[in-house]
């Protein structure tokens, strides 16, 4: 017996166009089919009408799509490499949430926020305690203007890490975007308890008060922000706006003049501001940043060679990337590959010669090679660039003690380090410097203070005990 379904199908598809069918049932079927076809045509027509964004429509009217010569292949290869590196990390650490989150970040950096969100959510499934992932998700939704979602995600992050600096501020900003100024203000009150000295917090206060038309409070908030970040154009703008509305026209004019001057300076350097808002970046720095993070994971799992490989590649890709170079210096120092540490440290000094910490890093690396003269020069440069920072003094004390020279100066430098940051470490250094200068009472006092500050530090305790015994 024929399968009736098959038979019906066969009839309907094989029937030649225009052929007449027999019987009522056949006519009904044909009518129905005709109706369906008509309907489908309408649907197709509507779809075509509503689909103006076919690819060819989006092209320039008189020409073809244009890309930079030679760029696409390089960029595409690097983009592929970035994804491959992230994929490999997932394969190498299948139980870890971090690589999954990193894949989200990679997607996001290449402009695919939807895929990024999926990966971040998978990361949270694996490790629901990742407050940082809630935060990046919130930032992604912030860029889409989905403020309710932003607020919800930040509340989840706050539940995990209630006092993470910036979380309450971001939450307040989301609330402000929704026009919920009272709630935003309450969130900011929490934020300033966590980070009272961060100028951005007071800028947000200023904006909230401006919108609430509480101009005196706005002036106070912007003034505080300005104290923390002198020369900030936004503070001057806020002060001018609030002062003008308080009827203080002269003050407002002064603030506005300062703002104009600062803004004009900013104008000169921000010639491609619109470009950065388009969220698009070249593949090379994205790959470098990804390698940086991937290297950290390998390093954390004691796969040092793989970490080194990642960071070296990152350094080649991004010739100004200092983060990967700092990590390499640290890796080489730990492995006692001192020559390589010095070479990379020298690169850091060349990339940013005004950064004191790079001179200090180079000095320390040089000292480990016993190149004390060069080390001293490098660290003195660090002190010159950042005279109020204790790190340079501390490193120089260590170099002088290690090279056993200029010991009186080492004591003075150690005192300066203590003055700038009275930590156990610095008191301990001062103790050693005093001891090397035969100042036994000074050494004892300094080491005693170090022991008080770090009662659990075994080395300090032993050094203190030894000093006491050698009365």
């Amino acid at each position: 017996m024929k399968n009736p379904k098959k038979s019906a199908k066969h009839r309907s598809t094989k029937r030649p166009v225009g052929a007449k069918g027999g019987g009522r049932g056949g006519r009904r079927v044909r009518l129905l089919i005709a109706g369906v076809i008509a309907c489908a045509a309408v649907v197709v027509g509507l779809v075509l009408m509503l689909l103006p964004n076919a690819a060819e429509d989006a092209q320039p009217q008189g020409g073809a799509e244009v890309t930079s010569a030679g760029q696409p292949a390089t960029d595409l290869a690097m983009k592929n490499e970035t994804f491959e590196v992230a994929r490999q990390l997932i394969a190498d650490f299948p139980e870890s949430a971090f690589p999954i989150g990193l894949m989200g970040t990679v997607h996001n950096q290449f402009g695919n926020s939807s895929k990024a969100e999926k990966w971040w959510l998978r990361c949270l499934e694996r490790d629901p305690k990742r407050a940082d992932v809630y935060e990046v998700l919130a930032v992604a939704y912030l860029r889409k203007g989905q403020y309710e979602k932003v607020a919800d995600l930040l509340r989840k992050a706050q539940a995990i890490v209630p006092n993470l600096p910036g979380l309450h501020r971001r939450y307040a900003e989301a609330l402000m975007e929704m026009g919920k100024l009272d709630e935003a203000l309450a969130a900011m009150e929490k934020e300033v308890k966590v980070a009272p000295d961060f100028s951005d917090n007071h800028l947000v206060f200023g904006k909230i008060y401006l919108q609430r038309k509480e101009y005196e409070k706005a002036v106070a908030a912007y003034t505080k922000a300005l104290e923390m970040r002198p020369g900030d154009a936004k503070c001057y703008y806020g002060l001018a706006t609030a002062s003008q509305r308080l009827g203080q026209s002269d003050k407002a004019r002064e603030y506005m003049e300062t703002f104009s001057r600062l803004r004009d300076d900013d104008d000169r350097i921000s010639t491609t501001r619109r470009m950065t808002t388009d969220q698009m970046r070249r593949a090379a720095p994205i790959l470098a940043e990804t390698l940086l993070d991937v290297g950290r994971v390998y390093n954390g799992h004691r796969q040092v060679l793989k970490a080194e490989e990642c960071w070296k590649r990152a350094a080649v890709l991004d010739t100004t990337n200092t983060a990967c170079r700092l990590l390499l210096v640290e890796l080489y120092r730990r492995a006692r590959r001192r020559q390589e540490a010095v070479e990379v440290a020298e690169q850091l000094r060349k990339i940013d010669p005004k950064n004191a910490s790079y001179h200090q890093v180079a000095g320390v690396a040089l000292a480990e090679m016993k190149r004390f003269d060069a080390a001293e020069v490098a660290i003195r440069k660090a002190i010159e660039l950042a005279p109020e920072h204790p790190a340079g003094y501390r490193s120089l004390v260590e170099v002088l003690l290690l090279s056993n020279r200029k010991l009186p100066e080492a004591k003075v430098l150690a005192q300066k380090a203590v003055e700038l940051a009275p930590t156990a470490w610095h008191y301990s250094l001062l103790g050693k410097a005093c001891s090397r200068n035969q100042d036994h009472s000074g050494a004892l006092a300094a080491m005693k203070r170090a022991a008080e500050l770090a009662p659990d530090n075994e080395d300090i305790r032993k050094a203190y005990e030894k000093l006491k015994e050698t009365k």
Binding site: A8, P52, N53, P60, G62, L210, T277
Partner: protein
Amino acid sequence: MRTARGRDIRSLVSWFAAAVMACACAVAPARADSPIQLRDVTRSTGITFKHTDGSGGKRYILEVMSGGVALFDYDRDGDVDIYFLNGAPLKGTKTDVTPTNALYRNDGDFKFTDVTNQAGVGDTGFGLGVAAGDYDNDGDLDLYVNNYGPNVLYRNNGDGTFTDVTKEAGVASGHRLGAGANFIDIEGDGDLDLFAANYVAWSYDAHTERYLGPWMVYPGPRDYLRSSNVLFRNNGDGTFTDISEASGIASHVGAGMGTVCVDSDNDGDTDIIVANDDWGNFVFQNDGTGKFTEVGLISGIAHDLSASAQSSMGIACGDYNNDGWLDLQMTSYQTELATLYENLGGGLFNDVTRVTGAGAGTLTNVTWGNGFADFDNDGDRDLFIACGHLNDNVEKYTDLTTYYARNILLMNTGDGKFVNVSDECGDGMDVKLSSRGAAFDDLDNDGDIDVVILNSRREPTILRNDSATGNHWIQIQLEGVKSNRDGVGAHVTVVAGDLKQMDEVHSGQGYQSHFGMRLHFGLGGRDRIDRIEIRWIGGGVDVLENVEVDRLLTITQKKG
């Protein structure tokens, strides 16, 4: 007996029913969730205009600007006609037919006829901004087109034709990259002067190629030197004098786009507002004699709440909170909110975008044409915002936005706030193109405001307002006698019971567009107007009392 064949038929019937339902849904009239209903009627209007941006793949910056659209009654037959600006082929672009601007005569019932050639307004320049105004006070509206290259002034001959009088009038303004344009009576002498904004100092030689990763994109305004704007004084004899320097206008350079001339401080003279792309916006404050001081920064309009100079595009002007002061809304670039500035009085404005909800839906879009209009005649002004990215390849490098985008309609809730009702206002808000200029007026004289949108590289969109609210309304056409003929700059206050509204006659507004010379007031359920007060530019106040509603009322300035 149930048979397999019977089941087949029933199955087909079910399928058919489902398909019919699907079709019905697809062609269903407006979704009825919002009192505002806009229907896309473009295809039945007879309008065949298609915009060109002149592009040939080089990505010249002026391509993205595209242009504006004008709604004005060129033949004084009582209905509003449409003038579309068009681009022109740029270097390297070949076309078979020379593109021109296009004038469509409104034949009523949403039918339009292309009268470009017979009217003689088919300029072939690269059109960017447009304004209509009766500069010779002869009773008909003339037309000024701000181009890349020489601008054009068309004098209306009063018989449905225009004459290009640019040369004798002296308003070509050299060879610059123009933007918005406005007729304005700067000193209240009864004739209309002319303001023309300029974008940046662009030329083929100055063209800069820009790439984002591998993708070639359009350069930004900061890739070029800024431009000054131009002000022409009407000499009263058909000629104009360039007073840009003497008036103080030329002392300031920016990247002008949308413009509006408005009495921003209610001091009786008209100021000039210029939306600058990626620089602080300008407020040229008029001293009443045609001398201007730029006060954008101190007024609070130059920058937004965060002190950022936005990439401002269009300017909507209207009293959104019915407090008697004209507020401003400026559209902007993707990642910036279109920003609403509340007029506090005394020449000061506050960014109230967030507390009013007036930026809803704009963050992920590049926004362009905009306008305040009371679409549901309930006595407060809603906001329409035209959207569309400037890079046609934007989706290749980000999924946060799209080249083609739906436009946005924000309904005023009457308590100083807006809600995004774009999804509930009918198929007119489903159109997804790359929109630029937008204009608003009552095209079928049925008492509600319709919409015309110029879309870059595409056909325009015509939206018929089908809101069936039953609310009352009045439209007011001014006829100046001592003042300029159409009352440009006049301030009109309408009081109906507990509702007091005000508006001003503007020539040129939104994104480089022109519309709304017939002032429109929604009145809600109020069926009588207690008082209409007109404060004419140049002096004099006229008052009408106890006025009937639901009509177009022409008010002629009283003598003496």
